[in-house]
Symmetry: C2
Subunit: 212 residues, 2 copies
């Protein structure tokens, strides 16, 4: 089975690992599946060939024989379902791990995306400086709750899972803001994720692509 | 197997079906599973007993023997995995249907949540009137792309699935804004979802709870 994913031809973060292909690379590294990468330019991303695979004109996409997927959450979950290593055995434990994937994407990431939009899309607007502290407080609320749940555990629910992979990936986007460091246990949680050999390989691969 | 979900004791929308318990009720109705509802007050939602089940202090939650879940996406996916009726057979078709669930929650809903935040959390701020058209345009971009993909099909990928359930639920939140009606094929898609008997039962149940 040959797997091809798409990634930015030129990542907007210059290779810091914050583009969403990193999540998919990380999942593939965790389960030991080789993959090819097809770089897509910003222009090609909005053209019919790419929009046929990704109706919202974004990256990443995932293609294997006969199957084309988009949405990093769906791709990671598909990989986790097909291979050992990212989901626990047992229906209940799997459901809880998948629950953390949704929590990362639907509850923790939206205020983080608001911050990204404020900085990069509304960065030139007169209201943005006044809004940033409000958005930061909405993010802090989520981080406080997440930190309370994590407690002194290494991972969110037992062993490392696709739920942790997604949560760490979402939280990583906060590092430039300094907000993550206000919650030392979450900063340590993210650092544990980054220290995994599979993450290291994924990060190195996307950084090497950015340098080319 | 006895299923208990939580819902707002007093739904902020007064029973219009926009609270996230409606998605879970709809899924349970589609697969024909009876359920109990435990109403939770805004105060109780932030207290330890509820936070033990939902670390972010929200609704809905889902409890069956030995399993407690939060996140409407995770709950709907769990229900869809345990019962016939919400996911197609076959690994690839299931992955694509689940992909639409993630697309609804991670790509289509975030700008809609931005609109909700602007109206209800930043409604009194001096910049909000100027920001609303920018947010509306970001939503229109997603609706245009979704409409292009849907074309003249009834559902997003073959038969009705959990992906449609989640996408219709997300789009419904736009109705008060008028944005949905700018895209007649999407308005018709949402109306097809609402016309399903299972949705009707779910809607009636949450509306009855709001009247009590």
């Amino acid at each position: 089975m040959s797997i091809t994913i798409t990634a930015f031809e030129r990542s907007p973060d210059g290779g810091k690992g914050l583009a969403r292909d990193t999540r998919v690379r990380w999942a593939l590294e965790e389960v030991g599946q080789p993959y090819e990468v097809r770089p897509v330019s910003f222009q090609a991303m909005k053209e019919p060939a790419h929009m046929a695979v990704h109706p919202f004109g974004q990256i990443p996409t995932y293609e294997e024989s006969g199957l084309a997927l988009f949405e990093s959450g769906a791709i990671v979950l598909h990989i986790a379902g097909q291979h050992e290593g990212l989901l626990p055995a047992g229906v209940d434990a799997r459901a809880r791990a998948i629950g953390w994937m949704f929590a990362a994407l639907s509850t923790v990431e939206p205020p983080i995306l608001e911050l990204v939009v404020a900085k990069f899309i509304e960065g030139d607007k007169p209201w943005t400086q006044a809004r940033l502290p409000l958005i930061a407080d909405r993010i802090r609320t989520r981080l406080r709750q997440l930190s309370a749940r994590l407690g002194d555990a290494d991972w969110l629910d037992g062993a490392f899972s696709a739920g942790d992979l997604m949560m760490v990936s979402v939280l990583l986007r906060l590092r430039p803001s300094g907000l993550l460091d206000e919650f030392p246990s979450l900063a340590a949680y993210v650092a544990r994720g980054e220290a995994r050999p599979a993450y290291q390989r994924a990060y190195a691969a996307q950084a090497a692509a950015a340098r080319r």
